[in-house]
């Protein structure tokens, strides 16, 4: 373009030169020789051209370059001032324009960053879709939920991002009806989880539909707790009903005449007292757990001889073990340091652990209570050769009401609070508990308690 213009200017120059020469010829025909005339005019024209170039063409060229760069998005450009007034004005205007543009852009960027930060700080997942259901935007919560990187999905259809029939149907419905909807959603990948979904139509200023915004809240935990609670109620009812049915059955028998037979009465009373005991234990366990959890237990802190407690508990379970042909053995050093704590609560810990070990070990197995000590701690381990706990359940057995394989535990009469109680008590004593297990080979629960005197924390 510029080159073209220069050529045109040169041609024009020669054309004007020709006219100029003709005029000169006309006036000074006799006085001037042609060579001189040509030379003066050429020098004159050169000077004129130089001024023209300096003042107009060069600034225009520069502006041309700069505006082109601006058009391509490079706003870091400034034009210098020029002598020529009009051109200087133009340069000034362009500079103002660029500065203004820069400010607006900075504002927009700041705004966008702010919104992105807000979106990314949300616990809920946010997905924005256009009218076709293609992804416009998603926040980091969604990336976390789905284990993906955002870039891979921008512009793709929602079905590519989340292959879920219900979700796509919800999107379609909202796009059609233009009314928001809420519903629950189960996703299989990357982990099976539940979401609460809210889909709202997105409209522009003219109230035309633009797309849709989806909010996702992960409710897997709530769902799981809910399920555990339902199961718990079912179990507890079952647990309460079984002894009650038995008691009321025997009461009936007594009333129907068995009371006149002293031998039968004696036997029935025996059974009834056992069943009442079971009921009482159940209710005690529950009360106990809730008390411990609410930290309402009054601890009777004192120096405790773990040795005594271990022997007591072992003796208590000996008959039960024999009934199942299990060997129940105790292994401990002659000297076992005292720990400080509540003897009843510590006895309860051991009781629950040994109870489980016996309960979950098939006949002809072994249960071992072993105590060891080092400088600062006493370790008590309850080990069995039972059915074990699958690795995926192991981290969860200390949750209240959690039982591995519901059917099996119910058969054995557990409600899943034993280990929860154990964990709370150990925590209150400043100790720790660890479970290890190999399925079908056995389990080991290791309690560690500090020997030195501990501060009463509660």
């Amino acid at each position: 373009m510029i080159k073209n213009n220069i050529w045109r200017a040169i041609i024009n120059y020669f054309f004007i030169l020709l006219i100029f020469l003709a005029i000169l010829q006309f006036y000074f025909f006799y006085y001037l020789n042609l060579g001189w005339a040509l030379l003066t005019s050429f020098i004159f024209a050169l000077g004129l051209g130089w001024i023209l170039f300096k003042q107009v063409i060069s600034p225009l060229k520069k502006m041309n370059m700069v505006t082109k760069a601006i058009g391509q998005g490079n706003l870091n450009q400034e034009l210098p001032f020029y002598g020529q007034k009009e051109i200087s004005q133009l340069a000034q205007n362009i500079n103002d324009l660029v500065r203004q543009q820069k400010k607006v852009l900075a504002q927009i960027t700041a705004e966008k960053n702010r919104i992105q930060t807000i979106l990314n700080s949300m616990m809920e997942g946010v997905i924005a879709l256009d009218k076709q259901g293609n992804i416009l935007l998603l926040n980091s919560a969604v990336e976390n939920f789905l284990g993906i990187a955002q870039e891979a999905y921008l512009g793709k259809n929602i079905l590519s991002l989340i292959r879920n029939y219900d979700l796509e149907r919800a999107v379609k419905r909202v796009l059609k009806s233009e009314k928001p909807i809420t519903q629950e959603l189960q996703l299989i990948y990357p982990e099976p989880s539940f979401y609460y979904l809210k889909a709202t139509p997105l409209k522009n200023q003219e109230q035309e539909k633009e797309g849709i915004v989806i909010l996702l809240r992960n409710i897997t935990k709530e769902k799981r707790l809910d399920q555990m609670r339902t199961e718990f109620v079912a179990n507890i009812s079952h647990e309460l009903r079984t002894p009650l049915t038995s008691i009321s059955g025997f009461l009936e028998t007594l009333r129907d005449g068995a009371i006149d037979d002293p031998a039968a009465t004696h036997r029935i009373l025996e059974i009834m007292s056992k069943e009442t005991g079971r009921l009482a234990k159940l209710i005690n366990d529950l009360l106990h757990l809730s008390k411990i959890e609410e930290r309402r237990v009054v601890h009777r802190w004192q120096l405790v001889q773990l040795k005594e407690i271990i022997n007591q508990v072992a003796a208590m379970f000996q008959p039960q073990a024999q009934q199942k042909s299990l060997s129940l053995t105790v292994e401990m050093p002659v000297e076992l340091p005292c720990v400080s704590g509540d003897p009843d609560l510590l006895a309860q810990v051991l009781t629950n652990l040994v109870d489980n070990a016996i309960k979950y070990t098939p006949p002809d197995g072994h249960v071992l209570i072993r105590a060891t000590t080092d400088k600062d701690n006493v370790q008590v381990e309850v080990k069995d050769t039972g059915i074990g706990i699958p690795p995926e359940d192991l981290p969860r057995v200390f949750e209240r009401f959690y039982r591995v394989e519901k059917a099996r535990a119910r058969e054995l009469g557990g409600i899943g609070v034993g280990l929860a109680i154990v964990k709370h008590i150990i925590k209150a004593h400043g100790g720790s508990i660890k479970a290890e297990s190999i399925p079908h080979q056995g389990s080991a629960f290791k309690v560690t308690l500090p020997t030195e005197k501990i501060e009463t924390e509660e």
């Binding site: 891979a152 793709k156 259809n157 079905l159 590519s160 029939y165 796509e168 299989i188 099996r408």
Partner: protein
């Protein structure tokens, strides 16, 4: 870019239809196994009745696809896309049918004592199979032939667990003390067969994805 804008749109729609059907199939398989492991009869019934929807959807997509091939006469990649879509349809529908079979088995074994080991193996096997389906479909979504190739190595694991299920079922049936165990053990054998067939179809889908992207036919594994 070709000038036929509606044709482009139709192809995109077709791909989305496939993904929609795939989502239903994936959920059906997941649900069927889940309800089996939880012994949830109501859930199993739901899976069985849900099959109608899958069949209907598959039929609709097939009609659309055939019409597209007949009227637009696509070539090269577009033709491959249309053909693979037809094959996906068949595979996805079959997979869902096997899931329904698993749901039926759940009803038949309900109430019988269950072998824990068999349940564990089945759960593990189903996880691998579902991973295969996911990888195959993701390869389709991402246009990623490499992913499709890698997914097929999971098939060995499926075979391995399947063999274990066979051993355990036979062992359980030989035990004379518990005759009630025979029926569920037989069903677990069948279920492992169903899962194997589902894995085969997942492999087919993986092969088709490779064909779609590279244009070459190759037998995987």
């Amino acid at each position: 870019m070709r000038a036929r804008g509606t044709f482009e749109q139709e192809l995109t729609d077709l791909q989305q239809d496939i993904l929609r059907l795939a989502s239903l199939t994936e959920e059906t398989i997941y649900g069927a196994v889940q309800f089996l492991l939880q012994q949830d009869v109501a859930g199993a019934n739901q899976i069985i009745s849900g099959d109608v929807l899958i069949d209907k959807l598959a039929q609709e997509i097939e009609d659309k696809c055939v019409k597209l091939i007949a009227t637009q006469q696509p070539i090269a990649y577009d033709l491959r896309l249309a053909i693979t879509s037809l094959k996906f349809l068949v595979s996805l529908e079959r997979m869902a049918d096997y899931a329904v079979n698993i749901a039926r088995a759940t009803l038949y074994i309900y109430g019988y004592p269950l072998n824990r080991q068999l349940m564990e193996y089945t759960s593990k096997m189903s996880r691998v199979v579902q991973q295969m389906i996911k990888e195959a479909l993701d390869a389709y979504v991402y246009n990623d032939a490499q992913r499709a190739r890698e997914m097929c190595s999971l098939d060995d694991e499926v075979d391995f667990i399947s063999a274990k299920i066979f051993q355990e079922a036979v062992r359980a049936m030989r035990e004379k003390t518990q005759p009630q165990i025979v029926i569920p053990a037989v069903y677990f054998l069948l279920i492992s067969r169903y899962l194997e067939r589902i894995a085969d179809h997942a492999t087919n889908i993986g092969e088709e994805v490779i064909f779609l992207i590279t244009g070459e036919k190759r037998e995987l594994n």
